[in-house]
Protein backbone atom coordinates (compact mmCIF):
# COMPACT_ATOMS: atom_id res chain seq x y z
CA UNK A 1 0.00 0.00 0.00
CA UNK A 2 1.33 3.42 -0.90
CA UNK A 3 1.88 6.04 1.75
CA UNK A 4 -0.81 8.19 0.15
CA UNK A 5 -3.39 5.46 0.72
CA UNK A 6 -2.29 5.06 4.32
CA UNK A 7 -2.48 8.82 4.83
CA UNK A 8 -5.98 8.85 3.31
CA UNK A 9 -7.05 6.12 5.75
CA UNK A 10 -5.63 8.05 8.66
CA UNK A 11 -7.37 11.27 7.64
CA UNK A 12 -10.64 9.40 7.21
CA UNK A 13 -10.12 8.06 10.73
CA UNK A 14 -9.86 11.62 11.99
CA UNK A 15 -13.24 12.31 10.40
CA UNK A 16 -14.57 9.09 11.94
CA UNK A 17 -13.37 10.31 15.32
CA UNK A 18 -15.33 13.53 14.85
CA UNK A 19 -18.39 11.54 13.73
CA UNK A 20 -18.19 9.69 17.06
CA UNK A 21 -18.58 13.11 18.68
CA UNK A 22 -15.05 12.89 20.07
CA UNK A 23 -12.38 15.49 19.51
CA UNK A 24 -9.13 13.61 20.03
CA UNK A 25 -7.82 14.99 16.75
CA UNK A 26 -4.87 17.30 17.31
CA UNK A 27 -3.34 19.79 14.90
CA UNK A 28 -0.06 17.86 14.76
CA UNK A 29 -1.90 14.65 13.79
CA UNK A 30 -3.75 16.40 10.99
CA UNK A 31 -0.72 18.41 9.91
CA UNK A 32 1.51 15.36 9.54
CA UNK A 33 -0.95 13.16 7.67
CA UNK A 34 -2.29 15.85 5.34
CA UNK A 35 1.29 16.63 4.31
CA UNK A 36 1.86 12.95 3.65
CA UNK A 37 -1.38 12.79 1.68
CA UNK A 38 -1.06 15.91 -0.44
CA UNK A 39 1.54 18.60 -0.06
CA UNK A 40 -0.45 20.90 -2.31
CA UNK A 41 -3.76 20.93 -0.48
CA UNK A 42 -2.45 20.06 2.99
CA UNK A 43 -3.15 23.46 4.54
CA UNK A 44 -6.71 23.66 3.26
CA UNK A 45 -7.52 20.12 4.28
CA UNK A 46 -6.04 20.63 7.76
CA UNK A 47 -8.10 23.77 8.19
CA UNK A 48 -11.25 21.96 7.15
CA UNK A 49 -10.75 19.11 9.61
CA UNK A 50 -9.74 21.36 12.48
CA UNK A 51 -12.71 23.65 11.76
CA UNK A 52 -15.11 20.78 12.49
CA UNK A 53 -13.20 19.88 15.64
CA UNK A 54 -13.14 23.48 16.87
CA UNK A 55 -16.83 23.95 16.13
CA UNK A 56 -17.60 20.88 18.20
CA UNK A 57 -15.40 22.07 21.05
CA UNK A 58 -17.06 25.48 20.90
CA UNK A 59 -20.54 24.01 21.14
CA UNK A 60 -19.48 21.70 23.94
CA UNK A 61 -17.99 24.58 25.89
CA UNK A 62 -21.00 26.84 25.42
CA UNK A 63 -23.46 24.22 26.74
CA UNK A 64 -26.10 26.02 24.72
CA UNK A 65 -26.03 23.85 21.63
CA UNK A 66 -25.69 20.19 20.87
CA UNK A 67 -22.30 19.00 19.57
CA UNK A 68 -24.30 16.38 17.69
CA UNK A 69 -25.30 19.18 15.28
CA UNK A 70 -21.71 19.43 14.06
CA UNK A 71 -21.71 15.66 13.63
CA UNK A 72 -24.91 16.11 11.64
CA UNK A 73 -23.17 18.48 9.21
CA UNK A 74 -20.36 15.98 8.75
CA UNK A 75 -22.75 13.08 8.15
CA UNK A 76 -24.79 15.17 5.74
CA UNK A 77 -21.70 16.17 3.79
CA UNK A 78 -20.33 12.63 3.70
CA UNK A 79 -23.65 11.34 2.38
CA UNK A 80 -23.60 14.10 -0.28
CA UNK A 81 -20.18 13.02 -1.52
CA UNK A 82 -19.64 10.90 -4.59
CA UNK A 83 -22.14 9.84 -7.18
CA UNK A 84 -25.74 9.62 -5.99
CA UNK A 85 -26.61 5.98 -5.54
CA UNK A 86 -30.34 5.17 -5.46
CA UNK A 87 -29.67 1.75 -4.01
CA UNK A 88 -27.65 3.18 -1.13
CA UNK A 89 -30.33 5.83 -0.48
CA UNK A 90 -33.05 3.18 -0.39
CA UNK A 91 -30.97 0.99 1.90
CA UNK A 92 -30.51 3.86 4.35
CA UNK A 93 -34.20 4.81 4.28
CA UNK A 94 -35.10 1.21 5.13
CA UNK A 95 -32.48 1.08 7.83
CA UNK A 96 -33.70 4.31 9.39
CA UNK A 97 -37.33 3.18 9.22
CA UNK A 98 -36.33 0.00 10.99
CA UNK A 99 -34.93 2.07 13.85
CA UNK A 100 -31.21 1.92 13.09
CA UNK A 101 -29.41 3.57 15.94
CA UNK A 102 -26.31 5.66 15.49
CA UNK A 103 -25.46 4.80 19.11
CA UNK A 104 -24.41 1.30 17.97
CA UNK A 105 -21.34 2.88 16.41
CA UNK A 106 -18.69 3.08 19.10
CA UNK A 107 -15.29 2.42 17.61
CA UNK A 108 -13.15 4.21 15.04
CA UNK A 109 -13.24 1.36 12.55
CA UNK A 110 -17.02 1.10 12.90
CA UNK A 111 -17.41 4.85 12.35
CA UNK A 112 -15.20 4.59 9.29
CA UNK A 113 -17.44 1.84 7.90
CA UNK A 114 -20.46 4.05 8.57
CA UNK A 115 -18.87 6.91 6.63
CA UNK A 116 -18.15 4.62 3.73
CA UNK A 117 -21.71 3.29 3.71
CA UNK A 118 -23.12 6.82 3.82
CA UNK A 119 -21.19 7.99 0.78
CA UNK A 120 -23.54 8.63 -2.13
CA UNK A 121 -26.69 8.12 -0.04
CA UNK A 122 -27.68 11.81 -0.32
CA UNK A 123 -29.66 11.76 2.92
CA UNK A 124 -31.97 14.67 3.65
CA UNK A 125 -31.81 16.87 6.71
CA UNK A 126 -34.74 14.88 8.07
CA UNK A 127 -32.89 11.60 7.53
CA UNK A 128 -29.87 12.95 9.38
CA UNK A 129 -32.13 14.05 12.25
CA UNK A 130 -33.57 10.54 12.28
CA UNK A 131 -30.09 9.05 12.33
CA UNK A 132 -28.92 11.28 15.16
CA UNK A 133 -32.12 10.97 17.14
CA UNK A 134 -32.68 14.71 17.45
CA UNK A 135 -33.82 17.54 15.20
CA UNK A 136 -31.13 19.55 13.48
CA UNK A 137 -30.80 22.65 11.32
CA UNK A 138 -27.82 21.71 9.19
CA UNK A 139 -27.58 25.11 7.51
CA UNK A 140 -27.23 26.84 10.87
CA UNK A 141 -24.80 24.27 12.25
CA UNK A 142 -22.63 24.51 9.14
CA UNK A 143 -22.33 28.29 9.60
CA UNK A 144 -20.64 27.62 12.89
CA UNK A 145 -18.11 25.34 11.20
CA UNK A 146 -17.59 27.93 8.47
CA UNK A 147 -16.87 30.59 11.11
CA UNK A 148 -14.24 28.35 12.68
CA UNK A 149 -12.74 27.69 9.26
CA UNK A 150 -12.42 31.39 8.58
CA UNK A 151 -10.90 32.04 11.99
CA UNK A 152 -8.21 29.46 11.29
CA UNK A 153 -7.21 31.42 8.20
CA UNK A 154 -6.70 34.69 10.01
Amino acid sequence: MGMEDLAASMLQLFLANLVLCRDDVEKEDVGFWTMLYTEEGATTMSREIIAYRNAKRRVKASRAGNPGNVVGVLLYNISHTGVRNQETSAKWRTRLNQGYSFSQVERLDQAMDLNEELRGAYLTEQDIAHLLGHSINIGRASKLVQEEYEQLGE
Partner: protein, 244 residues
Protein backbone atom coordinates in the same frame (compact mmCIF):
# COMPACT_ATOMS: atom_id res chain seq x y z
CA UNK B 1 -36.69 22.95 6.30
CA UNK B 2 -33.75 23.72 4.10
CA UNK B 3 -33.65 21.57 1.02
CA UNK B 4 -30.14 21.30 -0.23
CA UNK B 5 -28.65 18.90 -2.72
CA UNK B 6 -24.99 19.74 -2.22
CA UNK B 7 -22.64 19.58 0.76
CA UNK B 8 -22.28 22.49 3.14
CA UNK B 9 -18.94 24.27 3.43
CA UNK B 10 -16.23 23.75 4.50
CA UNK B 11 -16.08 20.61 2.40
CA UNK B 12 -13.61 21.12 -0.46
CA UNK B 13 -10.51 19.01 0.06
CA UNK B 14 -12.45 16.72 2.37
CA UNK B 15 -14.89 15.98 -0.42
CA UNK B 16 -11.99 14.74 -2.55
CA UNK B 17 -10.72 12.63 0.32
CA UNK B 18 -14.05 11.06 1.26
CA UNK B 19 -14.92 10.53 -2.39
CA UNK B 20 -11.88 8.32 -2.84
CA UNK B 21 -12.82 4.67 -2.48
CA UNK B 22 -10.75 2.96 0.17
CA UNK B 23 -8.74 -0.09 -0.75
CA UNK B 24 -8.58 -3.14 1.48
CA UNK B 25 -5.19 -4.80 1.26
CA UNK B 26 -3.51 -7.62 3.07
CA UNK B 27 -0.44 -7.03 5.20
CA UNK B 28 2.34 -9.47 5.90
CA UNK B 29 2.56 -8.44 9.54
CA UNK B 30 -0.21 -7.64 11.99
CA UNK B 31 -0.72 -6.27 15.50
CA UNK B 32 -0.58 -9.00 18.13
CA UNK B 33 -3.65 -10.38 19.89
CA UNK B 34 -2.70 -8.43 23.03
CA UNK B 35 -2.59 -5.21 21.02
CA UNK B 36 -6.02 -5.90 19.50
CA UNK B 37 -7.45 -6.62 22.97
CA UNK B 38 -5.99 -3.37 24.26
CA UNK B 39 -7.49 -1.56 21.27
CA UNK B 40 -10.93 -3.02 22.04
CA UNK B 41 -10.60 -1.87 25.63
CA UNK B 42 -9.36 1.52 24.42
CA UNK B 43 -6.31 1.00 26.58
CA UNK B 44 -3.69 2.09 24.05
CA UNK B 45 -2.31 5.61 23.87
CA UNK B 46 -4.20 7.71 21.31
CA UNK B 47 -1.11 8.76 19.33
CA UNK B 48 2.66 8.20 19.29
CA UNK B 49 4.92 10.80 20.89
CA UNK B 50 6.03 11.92 17.47
CA UNK B 51 4.82 11.22 14.00
CA UNK B 52 7.58 10.59 11.50
CA UNK B 53 7.86 9.25 7.98
CA UNK B 54 9.91 6.39 9.35
CA UNK B 55 7.10 5.46 11.72
CA UNK B 56 4.51 5.81 8.97
CA UNK B 57 6.60 3.45 6.86
CA UNK B 58 6.66 0.89 9.69
CA UNK B 59 2.90 1.23 10.12
CA UNK B 60 2.48 0.70 6.41
CA UNK B 61 4.28 -2.63 6.73
CA UNK B 62 2.52 -3.64 9.96
CA UNK B 63 5.90 -3.66 11.73
CA UNK B 64 5.21 -1.34 14.66
CA UNK B 65 6.07 -2.59 18.12
CA UNK B 66 4.33 0.18 20.09
CA UNK B 67 0.92 0.52 18.49
CA UNK B 68 -1.42 3.41 19.30
CA UNK B 69 -5.19 3.74 18.87
CA UNK B 70 -4.91 5.70 15.62
CA UNK B 71 -2.48 3.20 14.15
CA UNK B 72 -4.40 0.05 15.08
CA UNK B 73 -7.59 1.60 13.70
CA UNK B 74 -5.80 2.50 10.45
CA UNK B 75 -4.45 -1.03 10.14
CA UNK B 76 -7.84 -2.63 10.85
CA UNK B 77 -9.61 -0.40 8.36
CA UNK B 78 -7.32 -1.73 5.61
CA UNK B 79 -6.83 -5.32 6.74
CA UNK B 80 -9.66 -7.82 6.36
CA UNK B 81 -7.78 -10.41 8.41
CA UNK B 82 -7.53 -8.15 11.45
CA UNK B 83 -11.16 -7.08 11.07
CA UNK B 84 -12.14 -10.73 11.46
CA UNK B 85 -9.79 -11.10 14.42
CA UNK B 86 -11.32 -8.07 16.10
CA UNK B 87 -14.85 -9.43 15.64
CA UNK B 88 -13.82 -12.81 17.06
CA UNK B 89 -12.17 -11.14 20.04
CA UNK B 90 -15.24 -9.00 20.66
CA UNK B 91 -17.47 -12.08 20.74
CA UNK B 92 -15.05 -14.01 22.90
CA UNK B 93 -14.78 -11.17 25.40
CA UNK B 94 -18.55 -10.86 25.67
CA UNK B 95 -19.03 -14.59 26.17
CA UNK B 96 -16.20 -14.83 28.67
CA UNK B 97 -17.66 -12.03 30.79
CA UNK B 98 -21.07 -13.67 30.81
CA UNK B 99 -19.71 -17.10 31.70
CA UNK B 100 -17.60 -15.62 34.49
CA UNK B 101 -20.75 -14.17 35.97
CA UNK B 102 -22.51 -17.52 35.81
CA UNK B 103 -19.53 -19.21 37.46
CA UNK B 104 -19.39 -16.64 40.25
CA UNK B 105 -23.10 -17.09 40.90
CA UNK B 106 -22.77 -20.86 40.94
CA UNK B 107 -19.78 -20.78 43.31
CA UNK B 108 -21.53 -18.35 45.63
CA UNK B 109 -24.55 -20.58 45.95
CA UNK B 110 -22.40 -23.61 46.72
CA UNK B 111 -20.88 -22.11 49.84
CA UNK B 112 -22.18 -24.19 52.81
CA UNK B 113 -22.80 -21.17 55.04
CA UNK B 114 -25.34 -19.94 52.54
CA UNK B 115 -27.32 -23.17 52.58
CA UNK B 116 -30.15 -21.89 54.86
CA UNK B 117 -30.90 -19.08 52.47
CA UNK B 118 -30.11 -21.14 49.42
CA UNK B 119 -33.54 -20.87 47.86
CA UNK B 120 -33.72 -17.12 48.35
CA UNK B 121 -30.37 -16.79 46.66
CA UNK B 122 -31.48 -19.16 43.94
CA UNK B 123 -34.23 -16.67 43.14
CA UNK B 124 -31.68 -13.88 42.93
CA UNK B 125 -29.49 -16.10 40.80
CA UNK B 126 -32.36 -16.82 38.46
CA UNK B 127 -33.07 -13.09 38.09
CA UNK B 128 -29.41 -12.37 37.46
CA UNK B 129 -29.15 -15.26 35.04
CA UNK B 130 -32.06 -13.83 33.07
CA UNK B 131 -30.29 -10.45 33.15
CA UNK B 132 -27.10 -12.02 31.87
CA UNK B 133 -28.97 -13.84 29.12
CA UNK B 134 -30.70 -10.63 28.05
CA UNK B 135 -27.37 -8.82 28.14
CA UNK B 136 -25.71 -11.55 26.05
CA UNK B 137 -28.60 -11.37 23.63
CA UNK B 138 -28.06 -7.67 23.08
CA UNK B 139 -24.26 -7.70 22.93
CA UNK B 140 -23.44 -10.92 21.07
CA UNK B 141 -24.90 -10.61 17.58
CA UNK B 142 -23.51 -13.87 16.24
CA UNK B 143 -25.05 -15.96 18.97
CA UNK B 144 -28.59 -17.34 18.64
CA UNK B 145 -29.29 -16.48 22.29
CA UNK B 146 -32.95 -15.72 21.66
CA UNK B 147 -33.67 -19.43 21.88
CA UNK B 148 -31.94 -19.91 25.24
CA UNK B 149 -34.83 -19.13 27.58
CA UNK B 150 -36.90 -21.81 25.84
CA UNK B 151 -34.37 -24.47 26.67
CA UNK B 152 -33.17 -23.29 30.05
CA UNK B 153 -36.05 -22.59 32.37
CA UNK B 154 -34.69 -20.51 35.20
CA UNK B 155 -38.08 -20.22 36.87
CA UNK B 156 -37.61 -22.08 40.10
CA UNK B 157 -41.30 -22.10 40.89
CA UNK B 158 -41.75 -24.93 38.41
CA UNK B 159 -38.84 -26.63 40.11
CA UNK B 160 -40.43 -26.24 43.54
CA UNK B 161 -43.77 -27.53 42.42
CA UNK B 162 -42.23 -30.63 40.92
CA UNK B 163 -43.04 -33.81 42.68
CA UNK B 164 -39.50 -34.85 43.32
CA UNK B 165 -38.46 -38.42 43.49
CA UNK B 166 -35.18 -40.06 44.26
CA UNK B 167 -34.85 -41.20 40.67
CA UNK B 168 -34.73 -37.71 39.18
CA UNK B 169 -31.58 -36.89 37.28
CA UNK B 170 -29.81 -33.63 37.95
CA UNK B 171 -26.96 -32.27 35.93
CA UNK B 172 -24.27 -29.69 36.29
CA UNK B 173 -23.20 -27.30 33.54
CA UNK B 174 -19.47 -27.34 33.07
CA UNK B 175 -17.88 -23.97 33.80
CA UNK B 176 -16.34 -23.81 30.35
CA UNK B 177 -19.58 -24.75 28.58
CA UNK B 178 -21.01 -22.00 26.38
CA UNK B 179 -24.68 -21.12 26.60
CA UNK B 180 -25.15 -21.44 22.84
CA UNK B 181 -23.59 -24.92 22.88
CA UNK B 182 -25.88 -26.04 25.72
CA UNK B 183 -28.87 -24.58 23.88
CA UNK B 184 -28.03 -26.39 20.67
CA UNK B 185 -27.58 -29.65 22.56
CA UNK B 186 -30.91 -29.24 24.34
CA UNK B 187 -32.62 -28.43 21.05
CA UNK B 188 -31.13 -31.52 19.45
CA UNK B 189 -32.15 -33.79 22.31
CA UNK B 190 -35.58 -32.11 22.62
CA UNK B 191 -34.95 -31.44 26.30
CA UNK B 192 -35.23 -28.47 28.61
CA UNK B 193 -33.05 -27.58 31.58
CA UNK B 194 -34.94 -26.45 34.68
CA UNK B 195 -33.10 -24.72 37.46
CA UNK B 196 -30.60 -23.99 38.79
CA UNK B 197 -31.26 -25.11 42.35
CA UNK B 198 -29.32 -23.95 45.40
CA UNK B 199 -26.47 -26.23 44.39
CA UNK B 200 -26.37 -24.86 40.87
CA UNK B 201 -27.79 -28.09 39.43
CA UNK B 202 -30.51 -28.48 36.81
CA UNK B 203 -33.36 -30.94 36.31
CA UNK B 204 -34.05 -32.12 32.78
CA UNK B 205 -37.54 -31.95 31.36
CA UNK B 206 -38.45 -34.09 28.36
CA UNK B 207 -40.67 -32.91 25.52
CA UNK B 208 -43.68 -34.62 27.16
CA UNK B 209 -43.15 -32.44 30.26
CA UNK B 210 -41.93 -35.31 32.43
CA UNK B 211 -38.60 -35.03 34.21
CA UNK B 212 -35.73 -37.27 33.33
CA UNK B 213 -35.17 -40.21 35.67
CA UNK B 214 -32.73 -43.06 35.99
CA UNK B 215 -35.05 -45.08 33.77
CA UNK B 216 -34.33 -42.90 30.71
CA UNK B 217 -31.12 -44.77 30.01
CA UNK B 218 -30.90 -43.87 26.34
CA UNK B 219 -31.21 -40.13 26.88
CA UNK B 220 -28.75 -40.29 29.76
CA UNK B 221 -26.33 -42.03 27.45
CA UNK B 222 -26.73 -39.26 24.89
CA UNK B 223 -26.10 -36.61 27.54
CA UNK B 224 -23.05 -38.47 28.75
CA UNK B 225 -21.70 -38.23 25.22
CA UNK B 226 -21.20 -34.52 25.92
CA UNK B 227 -19.07 -34.59 29.07
CA UNK B 228 -17.57 -31.20 28.32
CA UNK B 229 -20.94 -29.49 28.52
CA UNK B 230 -22.93 -31.40 31.10
CA UNK B 231 -22.11 -33.65 34.02
CA UNK B 232 -24.69 -35.96 35.47
CA UNK B 233 -24.49 -35.84 39.24
CA UNK B 234 -24.31 -38.91 41.41
CA UNK B 235 -27.36 -40.08 43.26
CA UNK B 236 -29.48 -36.97 43.52
CA UNK B 237 -29.82 -35.25 46.85
CA UNK B 238 -33.11 -33.60 46.21
CA UNK B 239 -33.27 -29.82 46.16
CA UNK B 240 -35.81 -28.28 48.50
CA UNK B 241 -36.70 -31.73 49.78
CA UNK B 242 -37.12 -30.41 53.31
CA UNK B 243 -39.25 -33.30 54.47
CA UNK B 244 -36.34 -35.73 53.90
Amino acid sequence: MTQNDFPYAPWGKLQELVGKSSRKLSYHRHPSRAVLCAYLQQALPQRPRNWSEERAEKLNRGRLTDWTMWEVAAHISNCSRCRSRIKALENAQGKQTAMNWLRILKDTLRKPRLAPVGWALAGVQAALLIGVLVWMNTTLPSQPITTVPVYIDTNNSSYNSTVLSADLIRIELRGEARIDEITTLMQTLQLQLVGPDSEGLYLIKKSDGIYLTQEDAQIIQEIQAHPLLLRITDKAELPGDQGG
